[in-house]
Symmetry: C2
Protein backbone atom coordinates (compact mmCIF):
# COMPACT_ATOMS: atom_id res chain seq x y z
CA UNK A 1 0.00 0.00 0.00
CA UNK A 2 1.42 3.35 -1.02
CA UNK A 3 1.45 6.05 1.68
CA UNK A 4 0.04 8.59 -0.84
CA UNK A 5 -2.94 6.31 -1.46
CA UNK A 6 -3.58 5.88 2.27
CA UNK A 7 -3.28 9.62 2.75
CA UNK A 8 -5.74 10.32 -0.04
CA UNK A 9 -8.32 7.81 1.20
CA UNK A 10 -7.98 9.20 4.73
CA UNK A 11 -9.37 12.53 3.51
CA UNK A 12 -12.86 10.98 3.29
CA UNK A 13 -14.75 11.37 6.56
CA UNK A 14 -17.05 8.50 5.67
CA UNK A 15 -14.18 5.99 5.86
CA UNK A 16 -12.71 4.72 9.13
CA UNK A 17 -9.10 3.56 9.45
CA UNK A 18 -9.92 -0.11 8.84
CA UNK A 19 -11.91 0.73 5.71
CA UNK A 20 -9.13 2.94 4.37
CA UNK A 21 -6.66 0.07 4.72
CA UNK A 22 -9.04 -2.52 3.26
CA UNK A 23 -9.90 -0.34 0.25
CA UNK A 24 -6.29 0.64 -0.35
CA UNK A 25 -5.42 -3.05 -0.77
CA UNK A 26 -7.79 -3.28 -3.75
CA UNK A 27 -7.06 -0.06 -5.59
CA UNK A 28 -4.42 -0.43 -8.31
CA UNK A 29 -1.82 2.27 -8.80
CA UNK A 30 1.30 2.67 -10.86
CA UNK A 31 4.27 4.98 -11.29
CA UNK A 32 4.66 6.48 -14.75
CA UNK A 33 7.80 8.39 -15.80
CA UNK A 34 7.56 11.89 -17.25
CA UNK A 35 6.62 11.72 -20.94
CA UNK A 36 4.40 8.63 -20.69
CA UNK A 37 1.50 8.83 -23.14
CA UNK A 38 -1.52 7.57 -21.21
CA UNK A 39 -4.01 8.17 -23.98
CA UNK A 40 -3.71 9.18 -27.65
CA UNK A 41 -6.15 10.37 -30.32
CA UNK A 42 -7.96 7.57 -32.09
CA UNK A 43 -7.53 5.05 -29.28
CA UNK A 44 -10.53 3.89 -27.29
CA UNK A 45 -9.38 4.41 -23.70
CA UNK A 46 -9.97 1.45 -21.44
CA UNK A 47 -8.51 2.98 -18.32
CA UNK A 48 -9.38 5.99 -16.23
CA UNK A 49 -6.66 7.70 -14.20
CA UNK A 50 -6.58 9.64 -11.01
CA UNK A 51 -3.54 11.68 -9.96
CA UNK A 52 -2.02 10.93 -6.56
CA UNK A 53 1.28 12.64 -7.33
CA UNK A 54 2.53 14.49 -10.39
CA UNK A 55 0.95 16.31 -13.30
CA UNK A 56 -1.01 15.06 -16.30
CA UNK A 57 -1.54 17.31 -19.32
CA UNK A 58 -4.40 17.05 -21.79
CA UNK A 59 -3.81 18.42 -25.29
CA UNK A 60 -5.19 18.32 -28.79
CA UNK A 61 -3.15 18.56 -31.98
CA UNK A 62 -4.90 21.01 -34.27
CA UNK A 63 -3.41 21.79 -37.66
CA UNK A 64 -0.08 20.54 -36.43
CA UNK A 65 -0.10 22.62 -33.25
CA UNK A 66 -0.45 21.38 -29.69
CA UNK A 67 -3.38 22.95 -27.84
CA UNK A 68 -3.28 22.35 -24.10
CA UNK A 69 -6.78 22.22 -22.61
CA UNK A 70 -6.32 20.86 -19.08
CA UNK A 71 -3.85 20.04 -16.33
CA UNK A 72 -4.65 17.41 -13.73
CA UNK A 73 -2.62 17.56 -10.53
CA UNK A 74 -2.57 15.95 -7.14
CA UNK A 75 -4.33 18.91 -5.64
CA UNK A 76 -7.12 18.83 -8.17
CA UNK A 77 -7.53 15.15 -8.51
CA UNK A 78 -9.33 13.45 -11.28
CA UNK A 79 -8.37 12.83 -14.87
CA UNK A 80 -10.95 12.85 -17.61
CA UNK A 81 -12.81 9.60 -18.02
CA UNK A 82 -14.07 10.85 -21.40
CA UNK A 83 -15.15 8.11 -23.71
CA UNK A 84 -14.71 5.64 -20.88
CA UNK A 85 -18.48 5.30 -20.87
CA UNK A 86 -19.46 5.35 -24.54
CA UNK A 87 -16.36 3.57 -25.89
CA UNK A 88 -15.70 6.27 -28.48
CA UNK A 89 -12.11 7.02 -29.50
CA UNK A 90 -10.22 9.76 -27.71
CA UNK A 91 -9.76 13.09 -29.51
CA UNK A 92 -6.74 14.11 -27.46
CA UNK A 93 -3.54 13.15 -25.70
CA UNK A 94 -3.09 12.59 -22.00
CA UNK A 95 0.60 12.67 -21.09
CA UNK A 96 2.56 12.69 -17.86
CA UNK A 97 4.14 16.14 -17.72
CA UNK A 98 6.09 15.02 -14.63
CA UNK A 99 6.86 11.67 -13.04
CA UNK A 100 3.44 10.53 -11.83
CA UNK A 101 1.86 8.23 -9.32
CA UNK A 102 -1.60 7.40 -10.64
CA UNK A 103 -4.55 5.35 -9.50
CA UNK A 104 -6.11 3.61 -12.46
CA UNK A 105 -9.41 1.89 -12.98
CA UNK A 106 -11.37 0.14 -15.66
CA UNK A 107 -14.92 -1.17 -15.80
CA UNK A 108 -14.14 -4.55 -14.22
CA UNK A 109 -11.85 -3.25 -11.49
CA UNK A 110 -14.33 -0.52 -10.57
CA UNK A 111 -17.36 -2.81 -10.48
CA UNK A 112 -15.55 -5.37 -8.34
CA UNK A 113 -14.48 -2.68 -5.88
CA UNK A 114 -17.94 -1.12 -5.76
CA UNK A 115 -19.40 -4.52 -4.88
CA UNK A 116 -16.76 -5.08 -2.21
CA UNK A 117 -17.08 -1.55 -0.81
CA UNK A 118 -20.47 0.07 -1.48
CA UNK A 119 -19.23 3.16 0.38
CA UNK A 120 -16.61 3.60 -2.36
CA UNK A 121 -19.31 3.88 -5.00
CA UNK A 122 -20.94 6.63 -2.97
CA UNK A 123 -17.63 8.49 -2.68
CA UNK A 124 -16.93 8.22 -6.42
CA UNK A 125 -20.47 9.41 -7.27
CA UNK A 126 -20.02 12.47 -5.08
CA UNK A 127 -16.61 13.18 -6.60
CA UNK A 128 -17.98 12.98 -10.14
CA UNK A 129 -20.88 15.26 -9.21
CA UNK A 130 -18.56 17.78 -7.57
CA UNK A 131 -16.29 17.62 -10.62
CA UNK A 132 -19.24 18.30 -12.93
CA UNK A 133 -20.25 21.30 -10.84
CA UNK A 134 -16.72 22.65 -10.83
CA UNK A 135 -16.22 22.12 -14.56
CA UNK A 136 -19.49 23.92 -15.32
CA UNK A 137 -18.52 26.81 -13.05
CA UNK A 138 -15.10 27.09 -14.70
CA UNK A 139 -16.65 26.95 -18.16
CA UNK A 140 -19.15 29.71 -17.31
CA UNK A 141 -16.38 31.83 -15.89
CA UNK A 142 -14.26 31.29 -18.99
CA UNK A 143 -17.12 32.35 -21.30
CA UNK A 144 -17.83 35.53 -19.36
CA UNK A 145 -14.23 36.61 -18.68
CA UNK A 146 -11.76 38.83 -20.48
CA UNK A 147 -8.24 37.55 -21.17
CA UNK A 148 -6.93 39.45 -18.17
CA UNK A 149 -9.65 38.09 -15.89
CA UNK A 150 -8.93 34.56 -17.11
CA UNK A 151 -5.24 34.90 -16.35
CA UNK A 152 -5.83 36.38 -12.89
CA UNK A 153 -8.32 33.59 -12.15
CA UNK A 154 -5.74 31.04 -13.26
CA UNK A 155 -3.08 32.53 -10.97
CA UNK A 156 -5.51 32.48 -8.06
CA UNK A 157 -7.06 29.04 -8.53
CA UNK A 158 -4.10 27.03 -9.82
CA UNK A 159 -1.17 28.06 -7.63
CA UNK A 160 -0.09 24.41 -7.84
CA UNK A 161 0.77 24.98 -11.51
CA UNK A 162 3.01 28.03 -11.18
CA UNK A 163 6.59 27.21 -12.12
CA UNK A 164 5.55 23.71 -13.23
CA UNK A 165 4.23 24.40 -16.72
CA UNK A 166 5.62 26.51 -19.58
CA UNK A 167 3.92 29.81 -20.40
CA UNK A 168 2.92 28.77 -23.93
CA UNK A 169 0.86 25.95 -22.44
CA UNK A 170 -0.74 28.36 -19.99
CA UNK A 171 -1.55 30.65 -22.94
CA UNK A 172 -3.22 27.77 -24.75
CA UNK A 173 -5.22 26.81 -21.66
CA UNK A 174 -6.54 30.38 -21.50
CA UNK A 175 -7.41 30.46 -25.21
CA UNK A 176 -4.62 32.99 -25.93
CA UNK A 177 -1.59 33.09 -28.18
CA UNK A 178 1.77 33.02 -26.36
CA UNK A 179 2.34 36.61 -27.60
CA UNK A 180 -0.97 37.87 -26.12
CA UNK A 181 -0.20 36.26 -22.76
CA UNK A 182 3.29 37.78 -22.78
CA UNK A 183 1.85 41.28 -23.47
CA UNK A 184 -0.81 40.76 -20.81
CA UNK A 185 1.80 39.75 -18.22
CA UNK A 186 3.86 42.84 -19.02
CA UNK A 187 0.79 45.05 -18.65
CA UNK A 188 0.00 43.53 -15.25
CA UNK A 189 3.59 44.03 -14.05
CA UNK A 190 3.46 47.69 -15.11
CA UNK A 191 0.06 48.12 -13.39
CA UNK A 192 1.18 46.40 -10.17
CA UNK B 1 -48.09 10.28 -14.24
CA UNK B 2 -47.18 12.61 -17.06
CA UNK B 3 -46.73 11.03 -20.52
CA UNK B 4 -43.47 13.00 -21.03
CA UNK B 5 -42.06 11.47 -17.83
CA UNK B 6 -43.05 7.94 -18.92
CA UNK B 7 -41.55 8.57 -22.34
CA UNK B 8 -38.30 9.82 -20.83
CA UNK B 9 -37.96 6.89 -18.42
CA UNK B 10 -38.72 4.48 -21.28
CA UNK B 11 -35.51 5.56 -23.00
CA UNK B 12 -33.48 3.61 -20.43
CA UNK B 13 -32.89 0.02 -21.57
CA UNK B 14 -32.20 -1.09 -18.03
CA UNK B 15 -35.82 -0.39 -16.99
CA UNK B 16 -38.72 -2.65 -17.92
CA UNK B 17 -42.28 -1.35 -18.32
CA UNK B 18 -43.32 -2.16 -14.73
CA UNK B 19 -40.24 -0.37 -13.35
CA UNK B 20 -40.87 2.68 -15.53
CA UNK B 21 -44.39 2.99 -14.14
CA UNK B 22 -43.34 2.36 -10.55
CA UNK B 23 -40.52 4.91 -10.71
CA UNK B 24 -42.68 7.49 -12.49
CA UNK B 25 -45.09 7.41 -9.54
CA UNK B 26 -42.33 8.61 -7.21
CA UNK B 27 -40.64 11.26 -9.31
CA UNK B 28 -41.99 14.75 -8.67
CA UNK B 29 -42.52 17.13 -11.57
CA UNK B 30 -44.09 20.52 -12.05
CA UNK B 31 -45.11 22.93 -14.78
CA UNK B 32 -43.49 26.35 -14.61
CA UNK B 33 -44.63 29.26 -16.78
CA UNK B 34 -42.17 31.17 -18.94
CA UNK B 35 -40.30 33.72 -16.85
CA UNK B 36 -40.18 31.66 -13.65
CA UNK B 37 -36.95 32.25 -11.72
CA UNK B 38 -35.86 28.82 -10.51
CA UNK B 39 -32.65 30.01 -8.92
CA UNK B 40 -31.13 33.42 -8.22
CA UNK B 41 -27.68 34.67 -7.18
CA UNK B 42 -27.07 34.55 -3.45
CA UNK B 43 -29.65 31.84 -2.78
CA UNK B 44 -28.53 28.40 -1.69
CA UNK B 45 -30.40 26.14 -4.10
CA UNK B 46 -32.21 23.25 -2.47
CA UNK B 47 -33.62 21.78 -5.66
CA UNK B 48 -32.10 20.32 -8.77
CA UNK B 49 -34.07 20.44 -12.02
CA UNK B 50 -34.25 18.30 -15.09
CA UNK B 51 -35.98 19.48 -18.27
CA UNK B 52 -38.73 17.23 -19.68
CA UNK B 53 -40.19 19.97 -21.88
CA UNK B 54 -39.19 23.58 -22.46
CA UNK B 55 -36.05 25.62 -22.12
CA UNK B 56 -34.11 26.81 -19.08
CA UNK B 57 -31.53 29.57 -19.41
CA UNK B 58 -28.56 30.11 -17.12
CA UNK B 59 -27.14 33.61 -16.87
CA UNK B 60 -24.90 35.78 -14.76
CA UNK B 61 -25.31 39.53 -14.21
CA UNK B 62 -21.88 41.11 -14.62
CA UNK B 63 -21.51 44.88 -14.28
CA UNK B 64 -25.22 45.25 -14.93
CA UNK B 65 -25.21 43.08 -18.05
CA UNK B 66 -26.80 39.68 -18.50
CA UNK B 67 -24.29 37.05 -19.63
CA UNK B 68 -25.94 33.86 -20.84
CA UNK B 69 -23.76 30.82 -20.22
CA UNK B 70 -26.02 27.80 -20.84
CA UNK B 71 -29.33 26.59 -22.22
CA UNK B 72 -30.92 23.39 -20.95
CA UNK B 73 -33.53 21.81 -23.19
CA UNK B 74 -35.56 18.63 -23.39
CA UNK B 75 -33.16 17.21 -25.92
CA UNK B 76 -30.15 17.88 -23.76
CA UNK B 77 -31.55 17.06 -20.42
CA UNK B 78 -30.04 18.03 -17.17
CA UNK B 79 -29.92 21.33 -15.37
CA UNK B 80 -26.94 22.31 -13.28
CA UNK B 81 -26.92 20.91 -9.79
CA UNK B 82 -24.18 23.39 -8.90
CA UNK B 83 -23.94 24.10 -5.22
CA UNK B 84 -26.48 21.35 -4.58
CA UNK B 85 -23.66 19.36 -3.04
CA UNK B 86 -21.61 21.92 -1.13
CA UNK B 87 -24.52 24.20 -0.11
CA UNK B 88 -22.82 27.32 -1.39
CA UNK B 89 -24.94 30.17 -2.76
CA UNK B 90 -25.66 30.31 -6.47
CA UNK B 91 -23.71 32.83 -8.56
CA UNK B 92 -26.28 32.90 -11.36
CA UNK B 93 -29.90 32.87 -12.43
CA UNK B 94 -31.79 29.88 -13.78
CA UNK B 95 -34.98 31.02 -15.51
CA UNK B 96 -37.61 29.35 -17.64
CA UNK B 97 -37.15 30.86 -21.10
CA UNK B 98 -40.32 29.03 -22.19
CA UNK B 99 -43.18 27.28 -20.41
CA UNK B 100 -41.47 24.29 -18.85
CA UNK B 101 -42.23 20.85 -17.53
CA UNK B 102 -39.47 19.98 -15.07
CA UNK B 103 -38.57 17.05 -12.89
CA UNK B 104 -37.20 18.29 -9.59
CA UNK B 105 -35.28 16.64 -6.83
CA UNK B 106 -33.71 17.45 -3.51
CA UNK B 107 -31.51 15.48 -1.16
CA UNK B 108 -34.39 13.75 0.68
CA UNK B 109 -36.47 12.95 -2.41
CA UNK B 110 -33.44 11.58 -4.24
CA UNK B 111 -32.24 9.44 -1.34
CA UNK B 112 -35.71 7.96 -0.79
CA UNK B 113 -36.01 7.12 -4.49
CA UNK B 114 -32.52 5.64 -4.66
CA UNK B 115 -33.40 3.37 -1.74
CA UNK B 116 -36.68 2.34 -3.35
CA UNK B 117 -35.10 1.85 -6.79
CA UNK B 118 -31.36 1.09 -6.68
CA UNK B 119 -31.41 0.89 -10.49
CA UNK B 120 -32.31 4.60 -10.51
CA UNK B 121 -29.14 5.49 -8.64
CA UNK B 122 -27.15 3.62 -11.28
CA UNK B 123 -28.93 5.53 -14.06
CA UNK B 124 -28.33 8.90 -12.41
CA UNK B 125 -24.65 8.09 -11.81
CA UNK B 126 -24.18 7.24 -15.46
CA UNK B 127 -26.00 10.41 -16.55
CA UNK B 128 -23.82 12.59 -14.33
CA UNK B 129 -20.68 10.89 -15.64
CA UNK B 130 -21.78 11.30 -19.26
CA UNK B 131 -22.64 14.93 -18.52
CA UNK B 132 -19.17 15.51 -17.05
CA UNK B 133 -17.54 13.99 -20.13
CA UNK B 134 -19.66 16.09 -22.46
CA UNK B 135 -19.05 19.31 -20.51
CA UNK B 136 -15.29 18.70 -20.54
CA UNK B 137 -15.36 18.02 -24.28
CA UNK B 138 -17.36 21.18 -24.95
CA UNK B 139 -15.05 23.23 -22.75
CA UNK B 140 -11.95 21.91 -24.55
CA UNK B 141 -13.55 22.65 -27.90
CA UNK B 142 -14.44 26.16 -26.78
CA UNK B 143 -10.86 26.88 -25.65
CA UNK B 144 -9.34 25.67 -28.91
CA UNK B 145 -11.87 27.20 -31.34
CA UNK B 146 -12.07 30.48 -33.22
CA UNK B 147 -15.28 32.54 -33.05
CA UNK B 148 -16.39 31.17 -36.40
CA UNK B 149 -15.69 27.57 -35.36
CA UNK B 150 -17.64 28.11 -32.15
CA UNK B 151 -20.64 29.45 -34.02
CA UNK B 152 -20.60 26.62 -36.59
CA UNK B 153 -20.30 24.09 -33.77
CA UNK B 154 -23.25 25.73 -32.04
CA UNK B 155 -25.38 25.53 -35.21
CA UNK B 156 -24.47 21.89 -35.66
CA UNK B 157 -24.83 20.65 -32.09
CA UNK B 158 -27.75 22.74 -30.86
CA UNK B 159 -30.30 22.67 -33.69
CA UNK B 160 -32.94 22.51 -30.94
CA UNK B 161 -32.10 26.12 -30.04
CA UNK B 162 -32.43 27.73 -33.47
CA UNK B 163 -35.37 30.13 -33.58
CA UNK B 164 -35.93 29.68 -29.85
CA UNK B 165 -33.35 32.07 -28.41
CA UNK B 166 -32.41 35.63 -29.32
CA UNK B 167 -29.12 36.25 -31.10
CA UNK B 168 -27.66 38.42 -28.33
CA UNK B 169 -27.97 35.45 -25.95
CA UNK B 170 -26.30 33.18 -28.52
CA UNK B 171 -23.49 35.75 -28.81
CA UNK B 172 -23.03 35.73 -25.05
CA UNK B 173 -22.97 31.92 -24.96
CA UNK B 174 -20.16 31.97 -27.52
CA UNK B 175 -18.19 34.61 -25.64
CA UNK B 176 -18.84 37.23 -28.35
CA UNK B 177 -20.41 40.65 -28.47
CA UNK B 178 -23.73 40.83 -30.38
CA UNK B 179 -21.93 43.00 -32.99
CA UNK B 180 -19.18 40.41 -33.56
CA UNK B 181 -21.74 37.65 -34.00
CA UNK B 182 -23.73 39.77 -36.43
CA UNK B 183 -20.59 40.46 -38.52
CA UNK B 184 -19.63 36.78 -38.38
CA UNK B 185 -23.10 35.72 -39.60
CA UNK B 186 -22.89 38.16 -42.50
CA UNK B 187 -19.45 36.83 -43.47
CA UNK B 188 -20.75 33.26 -43.44
CA UNK B 189 -23.74 34.21 -45.63
CA UNK B 190 -21.41 35.88 -48.13
CA UNK B 191 -19.08 32.85 -48.07
CA UNK B 192 -21.93 30.33 -48.53
Amino acid sequence: MHPALLKFLSTFDTLDKAEVEAIAMHIPYEEFPKGTVLQAPGQVPNRCYFVLEGLVRQYFVIEGNEKTTAFFTESQGSCPANHFVDRSPSAYYLVCAEDCLLIYGDHNIDQANFERFPVLKEIVSQMVEAELNQTRDEFSKFITSSSEQRYLHFLKTRPDLQNRVPQHQVASLLGLTPESLSRLRKRLVTKG
